[in-house]
Amino acid sequence: MTTEITYLEAIREALFEEMARDENVFCLGEDIGAFGGAFKVTEGLLAKYGEARVIDTPISEIGIVGAAAGAAHMGMRPVVEMQFIDFIANAYDILTNYVATARYRAFLPCPMVVRGPSGGYVRGGPFHSQNPEAGFIHTPGLKVVYPSTAEDAKGLMKAAIRDDDCVLFFEHKYLYRRIKGVMPAGDHVVPIGKARVAREGTDVSIITYAAATWKALEAAEQLQAEDGLSVEVIDLRTLAPLDDEAIVATVKKTNRVLVLHEDTRTGGIAGEITARISETCFEWLDAPVLRVTAHDIPLPYAPQLEDFVLPQTPDVVRAVRRLAAY
């Protein structure tokens, strides 16, 4: 059987399989039970696993994340849904001050997943389109995962649930029903911390993740056809810990790097990647590292405004041409 399933269905499949595999795995979040979640990721879980393991919670991000941490200390493996990842800001204190430090300061295991729909391109406006990963990447103790394919969505979700630390699992809502994949047979687990070469190339590297990976691939096709440029695309998959080896390997291979992300520019992870490259690979560079990111603007609603603020394929094409010509 080679049935394709969507990115969203892949995540759901991971949840079903992990709940079957380990009775300590349980889900909690707002409207995740009978309603199946705002995007229906958890649809069917309640019917199969019951109210004790699929918990509809009050509107209460601190309460949900805190409760997950407490249960995780006692050997459970909670999977928290943020209805939209934007709302994780409510739980920022307990995630950064409590969860992230639990093991280091108190030797407390905190095996939990906080997952939720992230990202823009869906006309969701300022509170249903954010990419808040940068704040958490900056916090030692948390792991951050952000897949771009259906196969990775499933394999990384299974790895996140089995991980002995707290994993923030960002799901791109633009990809939920647009991207499909064929799941590898058997227990499909993708290791956290390993990047993926999404496209091989020799002239310029684009380092990216999540929905922007597809913009990069689109740009690479266009650049190949119109300019004869061979563009390599690195899909990071995990943002913390970063796959340093993969980044260095592509820098040494193409000597020209573009870092692309949908998150805003200032303080975004592209700055960190750029700094690491300049510290260690300066002599391998034939051009300055460039960044294509969103503008430093809250994400607006109107298509004309959102399209302008978020990075688009022509932005990537332009930047790669500049790098190639340097």
């Binding site: 949900i64 407490g70 280091y104 407390l108 340093d244």
Partner: protein, 395 residues
């Protein structure tokens, strides 16, 4: 709905006014003397910490629970060993009751390498939780107030999910009740019927802020009605009354009656920490509480007059406590400080990874981490505490 609200209100009232047999009536003579031991140990250990603080052997701040020993000891005495408790900064007494040792506390305050957190955390921020057969069941707190309430909601949710006969107890102060985390945690626990007891220690001050600037509520048990849970209130400076109220709440939670709220009325006689001169406290207030409402004096009077204890029995407890604190002090002082490189390990469960490429190929070559650690952070070199630490190590 009106009927439900009024029945909760009545339960609150019953708990306040008492009536019927008190749980403390069932305590043995030994248990009643044990309560005195824990209170005396709390106070003596803190007095020892004051001396060490003045000798600059305490690395950070010192937080006293003077005047609150009864509320800490009596409430925690209502728990079983298998239960889990999350303390506040002024719950040294609760931690001792739950099994923390004086030497652990001293080593924490002195930032020793073999302290419970190996020098990573301060004062009584340490825990021991996990398998009830091997751990003592207290959770390391954090400083942002209220956060332990949702965490304990989750701890007790796990008890419920696994059908374990265990209860959780979380302490908050009057200040923490103003936080969102307090509300979200207690509401979550209440809705899920978690076996959680939330103890609000109303000691009149949150740092320098008096309770009337914290809330317009007349009393904190009134909040129980808002969450649809029972509330209990007791004189926090009467160790038996404190035990009685908490025991009722703990028993109800253990019977499966869900989340419970306890308010203990007490008074913080020292500042937020030793550096705080309490200039904001009205003249005479502290002296009045010390003279008229000291929890240990009150219990001593009750033990000797009403409960038939001999003064020599109490003196024997005092001697035992002094000897234990002396021995713990000697052991803590003899312990070494942590190795600087230990700071690098244990952020994640994964074994420490190979040093990141960025350090290996990049800037690291200039100064090896071990050299930097040996050199210390130069800016603090003139600091008196660091000097004393060095001379102590030399000795």
């Amino acid at each position: 709905m009106a009927a439900r609200a009024s029945s909760i209100a009545r339960r609150v009232k019953d708990a306040v006014t008492g009536g019927g047999a008190r749980p403390s009536d069932a305590l043995s003579r030994e248990a009643k003397l044990e309560l005195y031991y824990w209170m005396r140990l709390t106070r003596t250990l803190e007095e020892r910490l004051v001396a060490l603080y003045r000798q600059t052997k305490v690395v950070g701040g010192l937080f006293r629970s003077l005047g609150q020993e009864a509320d800490a000891v009596g409430s925690c005495f209502a728990l079983e060993r298998r239960d889990v408790m999350s303390p506040l900064i002024r719950n040294l007494g609760s931690m001792l009751v739950k099994g923390a040792t004086p030497v652990e506390v001293l080593k924490q305050y002195m930032a020793k390498g073999d302290s419970p957190t190996r020098g990573r955390e301060l004062n009584i921020h340490f825990g021991d939780v996990g398998d009830p057969a091997t751990t003592r069941g207290f959770l390391g707190q954090i400083s942002p107030l209220g956060d332990m309430v949702p965490v304990m909601a989750g701890v007790t949710l796990s008890f419920k999910m696994r059908g374990e006969d265990r209860v959780g107890l979380v302490y908050v102060g009057d200040g923490a009740t103003s936080t969102g985390a307090f509300h979200e945690g207690i509401n979550f626990a209440a809705v899920q019927r978690c076996p959680l007891v939330v103890v609000i220690e109303n000691n009149h001050y949150a740092y320098s802020t008096p309770t009337e600037k914290q809330t317009l509520a007349k009393q904190f048990i009134d909040k129980a009605i808002g969450y649809g849970i029972p509330g209990y209130q007791a004189d926090g400076n009467d160790v038996l009354a404190t035990y009685d109220a908490t025991k009722q709440a703990v028993d109800a939670a253990r019977r499966g009656e869900g989340t419970q709220l306890v308010e203990l009325l007490t008074y913080r006689r020292k500042g937020h920490a030793e550096h705080d001169n309490q200039s904001y406290v009205p003249a005479g207030e502290i002296e009045r509480w010390a003279a008229e409402n000291d929890p240990i004096d009150r219990y001593v009077a009750r033990l000797t007059t009403e409960l038939g204890f001999d003064a020599s029995e109490l003196a024997a407890v005092d001697d035992r406590v002094r000897a234990e604190v002396d021995a713990a002090t000697d052991e803590a002082e003899a312990s070494g400080f942590p190795e600087a490189l230990d700071a690098l390990v244990g952020v994640y469960a994964d074994p420490p990874r190979e040093r990141p490429l960025w350090f290996r190929e990049g800037v690291e070559g200039a100064v090896a981490p071990s050299e930097r650690a040996a050199d210390g952070w130069g800016v603090f070199k003139a600091d008196a505490k660091t000097e004393s630490r060095v001379s102590q190590e030399d000795a």
